[in-house]
Symmetry: C2
Subunit: 217 residues, 2 copies
DNA sequence: CATATTATGTTGACAGTGTCAAGTTAAGAG
DNA sequence: CTCTTAACTTGACACTGTCAACATAATATG
């Protein structure tokens, strides 16, 4: 099953055969919004376009989302769940030591920024989603706490308890995020020219600079 | 003189006293656009709002900019000039060794992202400006080459000639940009709580992780 | 200086947007 | 089976960017 399957557990939406009520329009709108977003970009995103794609009238979404930004909030929330899922998927392919797991997590972060550029921008660089909304805040905090946990496993110090250890977290996050963001914005020409394998090899070297010194362990 | 003085050298624009022709509307529009941008944010930016602020009709700007994104392109270009100016200003207050100069440059980068949040986002995270336009490309490339030069001075190897040395540049840029971007997005709560002095002390430690090993020098 | 040209401004129109109000349909409660 | 209400449609409004048509004044030209 693809990660973005917003489909609810109850199979209520087979009857696509023209009925006044949709069945699960909310999920269908989020799906359509994801397609519209990657297709036309964040700047050209429109609620009416999403409604048209979902095959409903322009005002139908109002019954499921407060406004356009409300839909984008839900979409970003789903994005963070997919984001963490992609990280976990990539970690499984890596060696099982904390260092390798952290690197895998970082590479997945960067891969996400490249593969889903518009969604990434919505999640990390847009003010349109309501980042204080619980529906979004929960999965985004979960993504951050995942990094905290992985750093903890690497250093043996809990960053949530130790301010200096938290600086390790911020350093790793900033480095990975910086790489992801600049690649997303097409600004790292020297790296984008390389093959994926060579690019990731270079990325690993750079990310490792941000990792705390574990020689003493 | 404040950095953002878009005023042309020739003092053509004193006659604000209601004349059909403005004198230097192009510069006035860029100034107004900068104010509108920081006031209402990038998402709510509107050409008509800028025109109203400049005291002209809604269609007047069309004679000076191809479209709204054209105005944003010019604004971003001016932003990059101010950006480099802010870096230079901060470097002058720092010690004159390559390491200190690079740190000062990085802290100015981060300060800019915090002090001019909307302009920063326009320059680094928006697709509305035409980043391939020469008017914008020239100052943005200049900002990058400044970093290249400063890294060169630190390591003694020209990154434009040596691929490995270029990785140093990318690492430093990514780390500083990551910090700036996350602070801009209000995502580094542990750092934003601190006083400016304490915050910058922590930032220096983090940035230094990205710097190449110069112990061998 | 007088006139023609052109740059720079205005107004009005159009399609597209988000959002609201009012009406329609059908699902589910009683 | 009827009634309430959630889900959807249509139509309207204010706002946006952009275009076309027109007005004005700065400047080039005879």
């Amino acid at each position: 099953m693809p990660p973005s399957a917003t489909t609810s557990a109850k199979p209520k939406r087979k009857p696509k055969l023209k009925s006044y009520h949709h069945g699960d329009l909310r999920a269908a709108l989020i799906d359509s919004a994801g397609i519209e977003l990657e297709l036309h970009g964040l700047e050209a995103f429109s609620m009416r376009g999403v409604a048209k794609r979902a095959g409903v009238s322009h005002a139908a979404p109002a019954h499921h989302f407060e406004d356009t930004n409300g839909l984008l909030t839900a979409l970003a929330a789903q994005g963070f769940k997919d984001f963490v899922a992609a990280q976990i998927k990539r970690e499984k392919k890596a060696a099982n030591d904390p260092h390798s797991q952290l690197i895998a997590s970082g590479l997945a972060y960067i891969e996400f920024a490249i593969n889903k550029p518009a969604l990434y921008r919505l999640m990390f660089s847009s003010k349109r989603p309501d980042h204080s909304n619980d529906e979004l805040l929960t999965p985004s905090k979960a993504a951050f706490q995942k990094l905290v946990r992985q750093t903890y496993e690497l250093t043996g110090i809990d960053p949530n308890e130790d301010g200096v250890a938290m600086l390790d977290v911020l350093a790793i996050w900033s480095m990975v995020h910086g790489l992801a963001d600049l690649l997303n914005a097409d600004r790292l020409k020297p790296l984008l020219g390389l093959s994926k394998a060579k690019r990731e090899a270079a990325l690993v070297h750079i990310i490792e600079r941000a990792l705390p010194d574990t020689a003493s362990l």
